[in-house]
């Protein structure tokens, strides 16, 4: 229609407005367009788990092995286009053996929905203009001058001469379109075989229905995982609404599993968050971190211990699902002298293979940020004799130290390395017996005046 009115891409806005006074114009917004395309890409996951964004205006869907869910490729493509049209997106689709052929037919074919039978791409591409080959600008400008305007003419030319004249780029694109060469697509989500999909004849929205769907889709996944003796550590359940929005829930397991009931127990409390809108028509379930189930159970000694491990794993999953990721953890050591860097949060059921140096005193409570204290030291290099912390004066009766902890200078730019970052730690006890871990940062006689900090408390 736009073409019939005399409009084309790249036309000046003023010229276009002169031709069609009632033209709706919008500002050029590349980042907005890209974001919208990515949202569309996410939406397309309802059709196939492998979707790739192509350029500024295209999407690739790898529908290998999923088209039967729509009773054939043609139905699937027609469904996709119809759904896009329902959302006021005009689109064209092509199904072919190769990404290149599909690209060409979607853009230059004469049908809105084209399906190329297996192996038929050479025939289908023959009549298309060479622009359909995704060529670089130089080759695309050169070829028509030699009379090579259609892909069919290029296919008829001797390969060696073409390669000499136009470089390997042309041959690459031609081979990719015809299937001689594999093409790697950057899928937005890695294709996973662990993908389940449930579509509903009528859109659903009641909470009980969502719960039943959760059970059903988990059971379907469990059956497949079971057949391969595998379990997954993360399950992502996505509900696709009629208006194209999608809402995902995820449940993580501390040990791989596939039994539907406990996973459903983790997911169901979150179902209330879902706003079904006008209804949900598709639910998908993706299992991640799939691994063999059997190998972990070989190490287990007796039944009681296995039972205990199961119990603890279930507890960790429940707490993680309720409190959030990273809130249930086991502290693991990191090779660092800096006290706050010597620990990290690991998985709650991780094995601790090494510990910390038992000869170095470390407090039971370590503040994330050392707190400044006003300290009075008799001699510059001595621990303080008294200090004020949180408004209270503490008289130091005994002190132990110093333990000098240098800065990890290799972590920062060279010009910021200085002796001011050296810390001298003292373990001090006040008159009441409370034990503190304090440090002086910097050295006397250095560039800046040293300061005293309180970093932790001993039991």
């Amino acid at each position: 229609m736009a073409v019939a009115l005399g409009l084309f891409a790249g036309q000046k806005a003023a010229d276009a407005a002169a031709l069609v006074p009632e033209l709706d114009s919008a500002d050029y917004d590349p980042s907005g367009d890209a974001a919208a395309l990515e949202a569309l890409c996410d939406w397309c996951v309802r059709f196939s788990p492998a979707v790739a964004v192509d350029g500024a205006d295209g999407l690739f869907l790898d529908i290998t092995g999923v088209s039967h869910l729509w009773r054939g490729e043609a139905h699937m493509a027609a469904d996709l286009i119809a759904r896009l049209a329902a959302n006021a997106i005009s689109a064209r689709a092509a199904v072919a053996d190769t990404a290149g052929a599909a690209w060409a037919l979607a853009r230059f074919g004469d049908k809105r929905v084209a399906v190329v039978p297996a192996g038929g791409q050479a025939e289908a591409l023959r009549s298309l203009p060479i622009a359909a080959l995704r060529l670089d600008a130089a080759a695309a400008a050169q070829l028509p001058r030699l009379g090579l305007t259609r892909i069919g003419k290029i296919m008829d030319q001797p390969r060696a001469a073409l390669a000499r004249r136009f470089g390997m780029g042309l041959m690459l694109r031609l081979d990719q379109a015809l299937g001689g060469l594999e093409e790697a697509l950057a899928f937005r989500r890695p294709p996973t075989p662990w993908f389940e999909r449930l579509a509903f004849a009528e859109p659903i929205s009641a909470l009980e229905d969502l719960e039943r769907v959760t059970d059903d889709i988990l059971a379907a996944m469990a059956e497949r995982l079971n057949a391969r003796g595998q379990g997954a550590r993360r399950f992502i359940l996505t509900f696709h609404r009629l208006d194209g929005r999608a809402h995902s829930l995820s449940a993580g397991l501390s040990r791989p599993g596939r039994t539907p009931a406990p996973i459903a127990r983790l997911l169901k409390p979150k179902l209330g968050e879902i706003d079904p809108g006008f209804g949900i028509e598709v639910a998908t379930l993706c299992a991640e971190d799939v691994e063999l189930l059997a190998e972990r159970q070989v190490r287990l000694g007796d039944d009681a211990e296995a039972l205990a491990q199961e119990g603890v794993a279930a507890l960790v999953d429940r707490l993680t699902a309720r409190l959030g990721e990273g809130r249930v953890f086991r502290t693991l050591p990191v090779q660092s002298h800096v006290p706050e860097r010597a620990v990290r949060r690991g998985e709650a059921l991780a094995d601790l293979t090494e510990g910390w140096d038992p000869d170095k005193p470390r407090p039971v409570r370590l503040f994330r940020q050392p707190e400044p204290i006003e300290a009075m030291a008799l001699l510059p290099d001595n621990p303080p004799s008294r200090f004020r912390w949180r408004g209270r004066m503490h008289t130091v009766t005994r002190a132990e130290g110093p333990e000098r902890i240098g800065d990890e200078w290799w972590r920062r730019p060279l010009d910021q390395v200085s002796s001011d970052r050296v810390r001298d730690y003292y373990r001090v006890e006040d008159a009441e017996g409370a034990r503190f871990w304090i440090f002086r940062s910097g050295l006397y006689g250095g560039e800046t005046q040293p300061r005293w900090w309180l970093h932790g408390l001993f039991a």
């Binding site: 119990g311 470390r362 409370a434 034990r435 039991a459």
Partner: protein
């Protein structure tokens, strides 16, 4: 008439006794290894499968460092049998410090929660789980209802609970200031005590420990010190008060 009444009463009493024997079997205990402490408890040691309350004074009500150290030593003896869950509202528990006290940190699962209700719920969940031998929770003031729920959770699997009472930093005190958890089996108050100095610095940690309330037992107060040369079965040594008195004047002189 009165005879049959007495007979019925005795039958009922017998039934009640049988019920109580069924639910409350002789509970396992964790002995401290010192008759001066163990004598305070009804069965010669800290009752397991119950929950206990540990509190501090002054600055300790906010930092709870000594209470954490003391609890870690008690729990450490249990941790060989299963996992220990430690529920925190402030993430300042430092595992290397616990490791220094001899606590098996490879058995420790830390849970970081946002508020009191989450802490109690997580604690309850942990105590009722298979494979968890003890759970420690740092909460402000569990009310009676929460205490009963904890007790029921402890009874489900025989896990032992510890509540470290701790106020949020700087916040106003919430609810009643006095300890309220009458459902707890014991209530402890832990304060720091000056250590016995060694040639190279501070001695092993020492606490003024008061057993304020003990269900079916009697209260007591001791000066306890971490026992260093042990395999960890009895982590505490009682410091004779005499030695402490001997220490005190010297301390005054130095201060």
């Amino acid at each position: 008439m009165s005879g049959s009444r007495a007979a019925r009463l005795s039958v009922l009493k017998g039934q009640i006794a049988a019920l109580e024997a069924g639910t409350r079997t002789l509970s396992p205990v964790l002995p401290f290894g010192d008759p001066r402490i163990d004598g305070c408890f009804p069965h010669g040691g800290l009752p397991l499968g119950r929950w206990h309350e540990v509190a501090g004074e002054g600055l300790e009500t906010e930092t709870a460092a000594c209470a954490a150290g003391f609890t870690a030593l008690m729990v450490g003896a249990l941790a060989r049998k299963g996992e220990v869950v430690w529920v925190l509202r402030r993430d300042d528990l430092h595992a290397p410090g616990l490791s220094n006290l001899g606590f098996p940190v490879d058995r420790l699962i830390q849970v970081c929660v946002r508020d009191e209700a989450e802490a109690l719920a997580a604690l309850e969940d942990a105590l009722g789980s298979v494979g968890v031998v003890a759970a420690v929770g740092e909460v402000e003031a569990p009310d009676l209802r929460a205490g009963r729920r904890l007790q029921l959770a402890c009874e489900r699997r025989g896990a032992t609970g510890f509540i470290i009472r701790r106020k949020p930093f700087g916040g106003p005190p919430r609810g009643r200031a006095e300890p309220s958890g009458s459902a707890s089996a014991t209530r402890w108050r832990i304060g720091a005590a000056p250590t016995q100095p060694t040639p190279w610095g501070l001695g092993p940690p020492r606490w003024r420990v008061a057993l304020e309330r003990c269900r079916g037992g009697r209260p007591g107060e001791w000066l306890l010190q971490q026992r260093e040369d042990e395999d960890g079965a009895h982590p505490f040594a009682v410091v004779p008060e005499l030695a402490d008195h001997h220490l005190a004047p010297e301390e005054r002189r130095r201060a």
